[in-house]
Symmetry: C2
């Protein structure tokens, strides 16, 4: 059996940064070559970043992606890396944009993989299965591929596949068995979800069995707007054995030697139609780097970490990449002394360092003494840049000039805080962070243009009960390694309050979070309706109250959502472009 040394490059590209991503691929291909690799793999759309959303429809961007691929192939060759086969994801198109008047049936933008060798493109594969659930919209963006590309290199037949191809039975992996391949490459841009790693390995195993071949799964890592890609790249044998696995949430070069079956004369021939209507396309790569001498490369197997560690790392990476890829010098957030802002501040410090985090205490007449002292204590423990801006003078001036009462006065305080944070942002440049947890956002327990002011919320996807678990976990981690736990115990232990009126507590308005969160999780994440929630044991009266709050919160969001958007067409909806995006039409 031939031996092949694979290098899986779990890298962190930036959307739209074609030249930067090409340099990234180049540098990691060099590292892989130095490690003796004979085949190097990069993630899905590594050259463009992922997802590029409506950039797909810009002809200039498609042309730039193709040109960047050609240049990359030439540059690798010029730099002495031409012999090394490199698989890289990019944006291709074989026709006008599907949305344009001159669109052609069955042609258009393609989510593509190319195999580069000796300065050229030896083989191309177009993603066959396009995902359209959850965060995915690929039927909007891409035309599905109708071929299975198999490349013979180093005496082994290797099939190319992309991401979702892996998640459905009967497609390219079944075709790969018909082609008799020894290895299936699967390149990914697969976003993190809690416990998704528990799901992914069994799927890779099923597909390895279906193809009767080894699977090399390489995933992107990094933050992109509201998504975090987690890595977790791996290689799985045909019998389901996990051969090697990379860590989550960091860039990683996973190098591993594989003994693979020699390509024979079996398997269907070039041009034959195989499973799922795919046309088999066979290509051959002549002359790859020779098999490295001993010692054999062994990638090792990283074991999954605890849920809290996984979520913390995801939040840290998501914030760090949002701040750095968008080139913000620093972040600023309000510190109330409560648990949410304390956890958001600790995440920020872990993500970009205390010297780039500004925390502002903005006490009012309703702020308790412990609010101020807990905020100061957090600042002391973490070393962030701490400021105090009392809001009472501004609040009093508004009240002296307008006739306001009740909730209008409560919200006024939160809005004055929003104005202060945005003034600091304009004056000094930091990105404003908001710190509402997912539970309070779901039930609308926040002030529009008040505590919701800001460009990024590191804990918007974290239920309140998980916020507490994260705080305890982070403090325990610190204690274990002899560091100062960042979050004051008092912020963790005290009952939550918005402190917008005298003696106010969350529990005046909301069910206890231990009761609230399971209902919200069922309704929002699990898509259970009233009936399903009651059937799973929740008090019907509480369920009704919570569902009404969630639906009403939607109504409250009405006052803020539309209005600043640019439509693609008169009266149409937004052009959907990535926020984090380095592509500039004007170069």
């Amino acid at each position: 059996m031939p031996t092949l040394r694979l290098a899986l490059c779990q890298v962190n590209p930036s959307v739209g940064d074609l030249s930067g991503n090409a340099e990234l691929v180049h540098a990691w291909a060099r590292r892989a070559a130095d490690a003796g690799a004979q085949l190097v793999l990069f993630p899905e759309m590594a050259l463009t970043g992922y997802p590029v959303e409506d950039l797909v429809f810009r002809r200039s961007f498609v042309a730039a992606s193709k040109a960047a691929l050609d240049r990359l192939a030439a540059d690798l060759d010029a730099d002495g890396l031409g012999e090394l086969p490199v698989v890289v994801g990019y944006l291709d198109a074989d026709g006008p944009p599907q949305v344009s008047p001159d669109a052609e049936p069955g042609r258009g933008a393609r989510n593509a993989a190319a195999l580069l060798h000796r300065g050229g493109i030896v083989a191309t594969y177009f993603k066959h299965h396009l995902p359209n659930y959850g965060v995915f919209d690929e039927d909007r963006y891409f035309v599905p591929g109708d071929m299975l590309t198999v490349v013979r290199l180093g005496g082994v037949d290797v099939a190319l596949t992309i991401c979702e191809d892996l998640w459905q039975a009967g497609g390219p992996f079944a075709a790969a068995r018909q082609a008799g391949v020894g290895l299936v490459v699967n390149i990914n841009g697969s976003p993190y979800e809690l416990n998704k790693d528990d799901l992914r390995l069994p799927v890779v195993r099923r597909r390895a069995a279906e193809a009767g071949a080894t699977i090399a799964y390489v995933n992107m890592v990094g933050g992109q707007d509201e998504l975090v890609f987690e890595g977790d790249s791996m290689i799985v044998a045909p019998d389901g054995a996990l051969l090697t696995r990379a860590p989550q949430f960091v860039e990683h070069l996973l190098v591993h030697d594989l003994e693979l079956p020699a390509a024979g004369d079996g398997g269907d021939a070039d041009g034959v139609q195989v499973a799922d209507g795919l046309r088999l396309v066979r290509r051959t790569v002549e002359g790859i780097p020779s098999a490295p001498s001993s010692p054999a490369a062994v990638g090792g197997i990283i074991e999954p970490v605890a849920d809290e560690a996984e979520v913390w790392q995801a939040l840290v990476l998501g914030l760090r990449d949002y701040v750095n890829k968008n080139r913000f010098p620093s972040v600023v957030l309000g510190l109330s002394g409560g648990i949410d802002s304390a956890v958001a501040a600790a995440i920020s410090v872990d993500a970009i360092g205390a010297d780039r985090v500004i925390g502002v205490s903005m006490p009012s007449q309703h702020s308790s003494e412990h609010s101020r002292s807990d905020a100061a204590e957090l600042a002391k423990r973490t070393g962030l840049d701490y400021r105090v801006e009392p809001i009472q003078p501004m609040v009093d001036t508004f009240l002296a000039n307008m006739s306001l009462s009740g909730v209008a006065v409560e919200n006024l305080q939160a809005r004055v805080r929003g104005v202060i944070l945005m003034a600091l942002s304009n004056q000094e440049g930091p990105l404003v962070l908001t710190t509402g947890n997912k539970s309070e956002l779901a039930v609308g327990y926040s002030t529009l243009y008040g505590d919701s002011v800001g460009g990024f919320n590191p804990i918007k996807d974290v239920w309140k009960t998980l916020v507490w678990r994260l705080a305890k976990w982070r403090n325990a981690e610190a204690a274990r390694s002899g560091e100062t736990p960042p979050i004051p115990e008092n912020s963790i232990g005290k009952p939550p309050s918005a402190e917008l009126s005298p003696g106010q507590l969350d529990s005046d308005t909301l069910p206890d979070y231990d009761v609230l969160d399971p209902i919200l999780i069922g309704y929002i994440d699990g898509d259970l309706g009233r009936e399903g929630l009651v059937a799973s044991g929740h008090d019907p009266a509480v369920v009704d109250k919570v569902l009404r709050m969630v639906d009403t919160a939607e109504y409250k969001r009405r006052q803020s959502a539309p209005g600043t958007k640019i439509s693609m067409k008169a009266f149409g909806r937004d052009r959907r472009l990535p926020i984090t995006n380095r592509w500039r039409e004007d170069g």
Copy 2:
């Protein structure tokens, strides 16, 4: 040839309001029956409203839609309307949601039409062509139908189709020819775009020729979040003759007698496969109301109106439905004396009446005398509820307590105005309107959490040069009918200014709008890149400046977009639900 009296019900349903929409259908079916109709048509998804977005994935909502359809059929029958065939769009499903773990291939949610008769559902059709461009995402939501439903009634064979089926050749309309039908019904939820009516009629004509049959095209009317449905229902003969056409932007009952070819023994049989892989499904309706005696019903032909009139009506309808369907008592907006807020105020008054519009002048030390007097003059002409809230005391208090300079001070003024409007909204209940035009939004010429504060912007899709044209058109209309022109001439004529620093004018920062708008239209609406814009004659230096401003504005929006959203899955993107939505899980 048999004669058939058709009633096209161009109605305005509300998303999620199943019982209200069923009542609407019932009431209009009664009106149609009173007019002697023998076949009544309602728009696409009239029973659920359209688009329902991710409500499609809620099993409880799908079940409620099907139950509402059954109840509607029974209610029509009980009310003596059972003999009258009624075609109505609704949400159906023949399998679990496509996004669920128990999804079945080829099954799931359906964009459906039902023909109701004698208390039951005689025939069903599932939309075949699913649109995925512009505002549409139907591949995400629906499984495409694979049948052509033909119903024999009153001696005529009638095919059922839905919206996008009309916009593509070779599908159900080609199949309808093979089936030998006399009439093709096409029910629609087709949103307004400028000049789309010029596009639509030729398409209907082409499809009539393809099917060799008369086409009855019925479209929805009304506002839904960022969309406006325009009506423009019509009937076109096989030779392309326009037989009747309804007005735009109003509910309308279009009743018209058609002489149609008698159903014969020609055409393919039930169960046969016809064009585009569709399976022919034939149904028969026995006993429809007898042909009405003379006089013949003639629907008449409404001629299209001028662009400005069309846009004005669309803006008025969009705002009115957003306010009323979401049950806001009134609206409030800042009046600067400039053209944008003046036009927004005039639209508001036309939409919901002067007594429901609050206009607030919020002068600062930089406000010119004419700003105050022009705002007051607008209030006097329109009769809206006029208030004055000077911002200087609040601005001065912020400045006394923080060290701010430059753009931070400019933005502070806009943000204090935002706080005032939101305080009024909390205190008295009005929806806050923002009034930035599309040109200034595109180049980022506005303040985050300042003049962008609000829940709805009536002119967000209107380029600045069109704002001026609309103002002049509206005043001329008023003058022609002897009313007071609502917009002060001075607001139209003076040079635009943000008035946030001494002597500031838009032209200090932006190219003249006559130069700016064509570039923006090419870049944003037309998807021209730098090269295309220069090739069409624009100054390269100006193009570069404008493109950089647009791309930078995207960057500015970073500070506001994310952060208040609720994800469907941890770290995933938003569940996409309609804002305007009456569906309540808790009943």
